[in-house]
Symmetry: C2
Subunit: 255 residues, 2 copies
């Protein structure tokens, strides 16, 4: 299995390392920035680095476009249409139609926030797989299964839903953490005080459905506490708006 | 140290066990429901159970009111005003004034969501301590420090802020998990797919400030993806409303 990594960011880096560790051959690493391509390629026995899309090798079995969503069209345009290898992107929100010039294409999308410097087991991450044919889906499953046992086939609509789900649980939760951080900071309280409850909140839904572990004043429809909180937040219109909207939705769900 | 536990719920149960393990004596457990008082008291060598507020012993050194916020006034009214022991509640949103009839009073508030059947180390939970005098605050610190080394003194306003912060990071995040659960369920996708990213999101803010690990379409101000998501959510007004509000606030923070 000869793999061309297009991109040198978090996803390219973690995937490349997992593939290489399993014994697949990373033959080339492309990055817009040569130094980044060099740095990643350096870790693989037989990989050449390039910053030229024209130099991308045509004998790969698998081309992984692990770049930002906005960079995908440029890369696709630059790649030769007659590539025989499988060309896949890793984006949650990008349609497969973008890869239609290639005979063999697909998607490997991890609904996970992958940071380069955080140790992370690729084997624990689920990947959503899509192929432009049943044969290519099967091929992707075969390629991915040794490094990522939690792969599932997923059509473009399901992938979009997962992407939206990931935005809710990751990006939006992190904004809530940020709101709490700001509140505590204003009153000289260390954010450390909330770190255990953040872990506990994430742990609880590993075993039980979120609706079954909902707690707090909104869950109890405890108007006295809710009003105390809103009264306090009246100095901070934006946080008050979040508080009101999310409280109303918890109350509604428990009616 | 002779302790009277008033309440038999999650907080009473975890605190009682930690105190007893350290060697404090739980002399009585009160619950509105006798069977619950019996069940908790059973675990302590010398504890008697009661469901009668009139029977509460007067020789305790510490009375812990670990009951729902709404039950606190009734309990306080029923307790004799001339108790010499320290009377504390565990509520984030209840003013200390509610305990003013007692000579010695205070608060031990854990900004944590404590579930009875989830194993949890009291020693890892921060507690916010407040006393009605410097002497009583010092006494509470002395009593708590062997079982909970992360105690900090905290006035009523700071406690309210922590409670609001806990609502944001716990109750509201859990609502976001629930939203994602509902979305996935509608399209036959298992919630399992998002469990790793939920853990990852919580882990990231243990080491870094939330603002430094914010990712996603709102963070990048990626209007194409945001519009794709909103277009999809147009069938689900409530989730669309959450999506719009939280996205706008992330964008604003990164301007």
């Amino acid at each position: 299995m000869k793999i061309v990594l297009i991109g040198s960011g978090n996803v390219a880096s973690h995937l490349g390392k997992a593939f290489a560790a399993y014994g697949y051959q990373i033959i080339q690493v492309y990055s817009f920035t040569k130094a980044n391509a060099d740095a990643l390629a350096f870790g693989f026995t037989a990989a050449l680095a390039t910053d030229s899309l024209a130099q991308i090798r045509t004998d790969g079995d698998l081309y992984i476009l692990a770049v930002s969503d906005t960079a995908i069209p440029t890369i696709v345009e630059a790649l030769p249409a007659d590539l025989v290898g499988l060309v896949v992107h890793c984006s949650g929100a990008t349609d497969t139609a973008i890869l239609k010039k290639f005979a063999n294409s697909g998607v490997i999308y991890p609904p996970q926030s992958i940071s380069k410097n955080i140790t992370l087991q690729i084997s624990e991450i689920p990947f959503c797989l899509e192929g432009n044919s049943p044969k290519n889906l099967a091929l992707l499953q075969e390629i991915m299964s040794p490094i990522a046992p939690h792969c599932i086939p997923c059509d473009s609509k399901q992938r979009l839903i997962l992407h939206i789900g990931a935005v809710f649980v990751n990006n939006f939760s992190n904004l809530l953490f940020q709101c709490a951080y700001e509140l505590l900071e204003q009153y000289n309280l260390p954010f450390e005080l909330l770190k255990p409850i953040i872990i506990e909140t994430a742990n609880k839904v590993q075993q039980e459905a979120p609706r079954d572990v909902q707690t707090g004043p909104a869950r109890r429809n405890d108007e006295i506490t809710i009003n105390k909180h809103l009264d306090f937040l009246s100095q901070d219109k934006e946080k008050a708006e979040i508080y009101q909207l999310l409280t109303a939705q918890i109350i509604k769900r428990n009616k």
